[in-house]
Structure formats: structure tokens, C-alpha cells
Amino acid sequence: MISSISSTIIRLFRIKKFAIGLLILLVVLFIGIVGPAIYEVSPTRTIGRRYVPPGEKYPLGTDALGRDVLAQFLHGIRGSLYVGAIASAISLSLAIFLGTIAAVFGGLVDKIVMTLSEILLLIPSILLMMLLAAYLPERSLWIVAVVIGITSWAGWCRGFRSRTLSILSSEFINLAILSGASRLNIIIRDIVPIIAPYVLAAFAMLFSYSIMAEVGLTLVGVGMTKDVTLGLMLYVAQIYANISQGIWWTIVPPSITVTLIFLSLYMIATSIDELFSYR
């Protein structure tokens, strides 16, 4: 057990793409976790003139409202990672739970889950999120994460369902039934261990998707109203037309970071997928 896991991990690290992706992610995570603790400037208070270029006093300058961009950036990374983790955890657990249940129980359960996921897939999820988010009076980081989480499980749910169906056709499922194992026991002991690598890949993909979705929601104006995220920074920069004014320091750091997070998670997800689909 332990030896096979460790050999898998060693093989995983031999894939360059994975190592680079993990390194980028760890650096971003480190900045997000440690950064706000070291650089103790409030990201939401006006501390100086607007649009001060990067200099000694403000390492990344100030934005349209005279707030410190570096503080916003550090807190923004943290906020975005929060949103990503919460949203992807919610949608991933929904996807695994509903996907396996639909496949194992079949019949009416399957029909209900599949219809629900079809509805979610047919309506553009950004539209759903906008409707949900606009309906809520106060939007904290948590609420936005939950909104993203419950609207983005459909695709992976179908994936897990079909993977489960193919596992269910194996002979060992019949033998498990003949051993008196219940359906829940079969899901937990037979199916989940086999789809675990896909869960990792799905988590990485959903994580990056959630971060991007939050940026998108904030950019159209129905995102966070309280906390700072990278999306909010971009939103503020965009409504004050910083791009056309050449105020690069409010735009470049968050966009690069969002791209890096997405890229690193994508690299991790595809290399995990590559490793396990070789066999």
C-alpha cells in the first residue's frame, strides 16, 4: 500500500510539467498565506493620493481610491484561493456524490440527477451565477464561493457517473454483491478508490475554474461586496479605465497571478491525468 503510493508520487515528480506546476502553485499559496501577515497594511483603507506609481513608500503604488495595491494584491491572492478551495470542494463533493449515486442506484435517481445536470449544463453557468448572486442582498466571499460551487458540478458529475458505470460492469462488483456488500459499501470501498486519481485532476481543474469564475462574476459587477480578491482588483481597475490611462500597476500583477494559478493547476491536472491513463 504505502510502497505503491510512494512509487506513484515519485513517478509523478518525474513529470516536469507536474513539478513546475506544483512549484508555481506553492509559491502563490505561500504568498497568499504569509504575505498578508508580513505586510500589515489594510487593503481597504485609503492611505494616500490616488495613482501613486510604485515607489519606496508604496511598493506597488496606489489605486483609483488611493489604496495600497500591494496590500490588495496579497489579500486578493488569499481571497481568491479561499474562493477556489471552497467552491471546488463544494462542487467536487456534489459531483462525486451525485455521480456515483446516479450510476449505482440507477432508475429514478439516475434520471433526476441527469436531468438536473443537463439543465445546469444547458444554461450558461455564468448566467446562473449572475442571477443567483444578484438575488442575494449581501455577497461575502463565502456566499460567492457557494454560488460558484453549486452551479459548476454538472460536467464532472457526468464524468464520474460514466466512470462509475464502467467500473460497475466489472466482475468484481458482482463478487462484492455476492459477498453481501451494500451499495454504499460498494461506492466507498470499490468505486471511490478507483476514481481517486480523477478526483485529484478534477479538483485542480475546478479550483482554477472557480477562481476564474469569481473574477468573471466580479468583472460583471455581481461579485464580492466585502472582501478583497484578485477579481475585485481587476474590476476596480476596469471601471476606472486604468488600462487606457496606462496605470499598469493595478492590472498587471493580478492578471499575471490569476493566469499563473490557472496555468499551474492546469499543468498539475493534466499530468495527473497523463500518469493514470497510461496503464
Partner: protein
């Protein structure tokens, strides 16, 4: 005469495919037979003749379209309702499948696979008793328990896997074993020793067996009675001698002709 433990009455299974223009495939067509205590019967037939479907229905993995399967006088679909009765049924009727490679979950150790069978037992046992029973069952089929207990199926050879499957049968000691082509994916040299395990099962525990195969030669080696299935129907029934000497149905004759004539060609 010993008593009948399993009765199959007018069993039919129809698969429907297609949504608008439905097509019906009759996999099993109105078959009747019974199994007596301690008896080994063989279901012989080509692929697609409905042998495996019959096995799955008897193992209660598949619901028949019509007809009944009675075990000790109980209808397995109508009289068995709750989990307790289901476990009782599988405690008494269990199976070995054709493919030892897909019969194991690659993430499970042999220990887990064997321990899982204790689900079927009513009596409470502590871990040590279970393990010693497992070891005994593994020894019975000629495996060394200490070597394989913590291995996963992909670390074992095909023959060893099939032996582990048979060890599960030795562990639960059912009244009836349904063996669905247990030797078809095993090297020819190992076949006989596996068949002897099934005979040992019968001699030691008086286990009845339904032996499913496409090979008439294997069927004659073990069985007391042979049923020949063709296109979902039982076309012929009799002792091995009767089938070999006086085949009446054209399909049985063809089957007999197709037993390899290796020796006669080369050595005479």
C-alpha cells in the same frame, strides 16, 4: 434419492434493445431443470447460448423476465425480500466467475477480499478467528496464506487468482456453487488441478455444483449430469455416457465432432 435443492421452472429472460423499433433477444427460453444435493451438473453450450445469463439469474444478480428459481422451496425473487434473507441466500448459493483478471478490484488486498465474505455470516467472530479461517481456506486450495494475504490481485498469476476465488467458496461453504467457466482463462496445465478442487468441494462438504462451460470434455470429467444449451433452450439432457454415446440433437453431435481430434490424427 437425495433431495432437490434448486429448481428452475420455465425460466425466461428477454432483453429488449432499441427505443422506437424494439428488438427482442431471447437469451434464455423457457428452461427447466433441477439440482440435487451433492450433484454436479454441467451446462454446456456455445457463447450466446444463455449459459451465463442463467447463472446470473440463479445467483440473483439478474431479474428473469418470467419463470421461477426455487431454492429449498423458496422463490428467490418473490420470497427473499430483506438483506438478512439475501445474505442467507448468498451464504448458501455462491459463484465463481469466468475471468480471474476482472474478478478483483485492483485496489483491494486479498485479505480485504476474503474478510468481506464474512458479511454473509450470521455469527459474530473476532478478527483472529476470521483470519485463521481464511488461512485454512487458502491452504485448502493450495496457496500459502502468509505469502498472498497482503498482496493485491495484480501481483498474483491467473491461476492463483482463480484459486483465491475458489478459496472464498471453501470459506463460506455454500450448498450450491455456480462456476461460470472457471477454467476458461487458465493454462491448460492448471485446469485439471482446479477441477479437482471442485470435486474436493463436493466430497468434503457435499456441495452441489452447476458447472458452466463450452467444453464438453471438461463437462464429462466432473459432472453427474450434462445439460446442453442451444439458443437459450436446453436441447439435451443426460449423464455423460448417454451424451457421448447417443447424442440425439444435431447441435450435440456437432459439439462432439468439434472436440479436438489431436491425438487420433497424430498418433494413429
Amino acid at each position: 434419492m437425495s433431495k432437490v435443492i434448486l429448481e428452475v421452472k420455465n425460466l425466461t429472460k428477454v432483453y429488449r434493445i432499441g427505443l422506437i423499433r424494439q428488438k427482442e433477444i431471447v437469451a434464455v427460453n423457457n428452461i427447466n431443470f433441477n439440482v440435487k444435493e451433492g450433484e454436479i451438473i454441467s451446462l454446456v453450450g456455445e457463447s450466446g447460448s444463455g449459459k451465463t445469463t442463467t447463472a446470473r439469474i440463479i445467483l440473483r444478480l439478474l431479474r428473469p423476465t418470467s419463470g421461477n428459481v426455487l431454492f429449498n422451496g423458496k422463490d428467490i425473487w418473490r420470497d427473499i425480500r430483506n438483506r438478512k434473507e439475501l445474505k442467507w441466500y448468498w451464504r448458501n448459493v455462491n459463484g465463481v466467475f469466468q475471468d480471474p483478471y476482472s474478478s478483483f478490484n485492483p485496489t483491494h488486498t486479498i485479505r480485504f477480499v476474503m474478510l468481506r465474505k464474512f458479511n454473509l455470516f450470521d455469527e459474530e467472530m473476532d478478527y483472529d478467528t476470521k483470519i485463521s479461517m481464511i488461512k485454512e481456506a487458502l491452504k485448502e486450495v493450495g496457496l500459502i496464506p502468509e505469502e498472498i494475504l497482503d498482496k493485491r490481485s495484480f501481483e498474483l498469476s491467473g491461476g492463483m487468482r482463480q484459486r483465491v476465488l475458489i478459496a472464498q467458496i471453501f470459506l463460506i461453504r455454500p450448498k450450491l456453487v455456480i462456476a461460470d467457466e472457471p477454467t476458461s482463462m487458465i493454462d491448460a496445465t492448471l485446469r485439471l488441478s482446479l477441477l479437482d478442487l471442485f470435486l474436493k468441494l463436493r466430497d468434503e462438504f457435499k456441495t452441489s455444483q452447476i458447472f458452466i462451460t463450452h467444453d464438453l470434455g471438461l463437462a464429462t470429467y466432473t459432472s453427474d449430469r450434462i445439460l446442453v444449451m442451444y439458443k437459450g433452450k436446453i436441447v439435451e439432457e443426460g449423464t455423460p455416457e448417454e451424451i457421448l454415446n447417443k447424442p440425439s440433437h444435431p447441435y450435440t453431435k456437432k459439439l462432439l465432432e468439434s472436440v479436438p481430434k489431436l491425438y487420433s490424427k497424430w498418433f494413429t
